[in-house]
Symmetry: C2
């Protein structure tokens, strides 16, 4: 599958087999795709946290209280260090953009590996900070479960998106 | 090339043939990759602006005064509408993350199409707003040139990145 097909194929999966963590070789390739992401001034102001021990999963799950989220055998967190990120002369800090590129690379790489993901922004940010022991300098904008759907799971294969003519303008 | 290979292959290109705009079929596939991007609560709070007329290019080029940027035959701007974006209960607005996912999809799709790009955040935001006539509700976090390198251009094929062991933590 090429990248255009992968982008069309990726979808948010909300069903996970709790007994099946991601194959180590696949996880390595997913993390490598994030590692290679570009960032403003190449600062790479990130840490990729793979939450997988029963204790850490128990701490992080209450940050997003959906039953399917609690089934995920692993949760990937992209955390950033604000003090490491590039800042423009007008004060804009590129941290959120940098972290999103890395996460997007990993989400697409996961789909290539047959690994299910779901972009989550609606987590309880305060509880997440506590669960991960983040420092005042660290920020998280997105997390995703990692895993495989249970056998028999059927992807929707559907995307509801605005047509190009509504969102593209030529100047 | 699969998505892992595409991610490894993509690099920032700072050399453009001003006489060669992107083939229309390629441009269509690039924009389609952005259209399919996920966004918080599927709000799709974006507009993809392709700047290509001599008049519009002349207005936008002073926003980033590098000679190679001025050679690009087209410039892609991902602009967002803050009022359309999803907002979390603690006030966090997902606009920047949403726009970055769409731009990342288009940057990777462009590489697939043999189209050169370069993530740019260091533009003059005030001048860009004026050049594009953005409303108070609109925001831009990244722009990229679109085009082809001149004949004889050699890609670096290099990425300077931190090793995985410095950026990955298992919990």
């Amino acid at each position: 599958m090429n990248v255009l097909e992968q982008i069309a194929h990726r979808e948010s999966i909300r069903s996970y087999d709790p007994a099946r963590p991601v194959e180590p070789e696949s996880l390595g390739r997913i993390l490598e795709a994030g590692r290679l992401a570009p960032s403003a001034a190449n600062r790479q102001p990130w840490e990729f946290i793979v939450v997988q021990s029963p204790e850490a999963l128990a701490r992080i799950r209450p940050c997003y209280s959906r039953p399917w989220f609690h089934d995920a055998p692993q949760i990937l967190v992209v955390a950033g260090f604000r003090s490491q990120a590039w800042v423009r002369s007008d004060g804009y800090c590129a941290l959120e953009t940098d972290l999103t590129i890395a996460m997007d690379h990993m989400i697409l790489a996961a789909d290539h590996e047959g690994v299910a993901t779901c972009w989550i922004a609606a987590f309880d940010a305060r509880r997440l900070r506590e669960a991960l022991g983040l420092t005042a300098d660290q920020e998280v904008f997105a997390i995703t479960p990692l895993g495989y759907p249970p056998s028999g799971f059927i992807r929707t294969g559907m995307k509801q998106r605005k047509p190009l003519k509504e969102i593209v303008r030529f100047l």
